[in-house]
Symmetry: C2
Subunit: 84 residues, 2 copies
Amino acid sequence: MTDQIARNEKQLGAILRRARRQADLTQETLGSRIHLRQATVSRLEAGEPAVQLSTLMAALSALDLELVVRPRSKSSATEIADLF
Amino acid sequence: MTDQIARNEKQLGAILRRARRQADLTQETLGSRIHLRQATVSRLEAGEPAVQLSTLMAALSALDLELVVRPRSKSSATEIADLF
DNA sequence: TAGATTTATACGCGATCACGTATATTGCCA
DNA sequence: TGGCAATATACGTGATCGCGTATAAATCTA
């Protein structure tokens, strides 16, 4: 799996969904490993903005993924504006 | 700035704080750019787990950073366990 | 297609968000 | 050291978290 870039919650959720499926896990089994409900995993993967950081980090660790923070490769003004 | 790895909220907060200082911004000015209070930026940088995803993504975009999700370079069982 | 699995959504609940506003605390520099 | 800037923390408020539980909707699969 190549590195995947996330600039908003939706992209992040999509990445997590792909990773979970690749690991052949259901939302239920993933959630049980990190003490989160299936419904919460669903919200995370849907890219809901108000999901909590702890939920994200727990899912990442259960999927054996890590986060890298780096300067944006090429600026994309529209995406920044889209946040508001 | 080299890529920085975050496996938990604290590491993520620390990275954001470094990036903000490097950009020579105060929590106040950063917050005003993304419609977040100085107090909220403070919580984010402190690594509080219940901060919301939207808060993180907004800060990243204001600092012109992006998130990369990738497989963990080397597994660290203790850190995973530390989540609970 | 029927049945089973998986995912999305709902309700009530206690906890906690980010908010505005304000203040305590800390850090820095003349 | 004194004073200011920067950061951390507090209170009340409305919104929303994740929870347990349950069900509706979507998606496989035999």
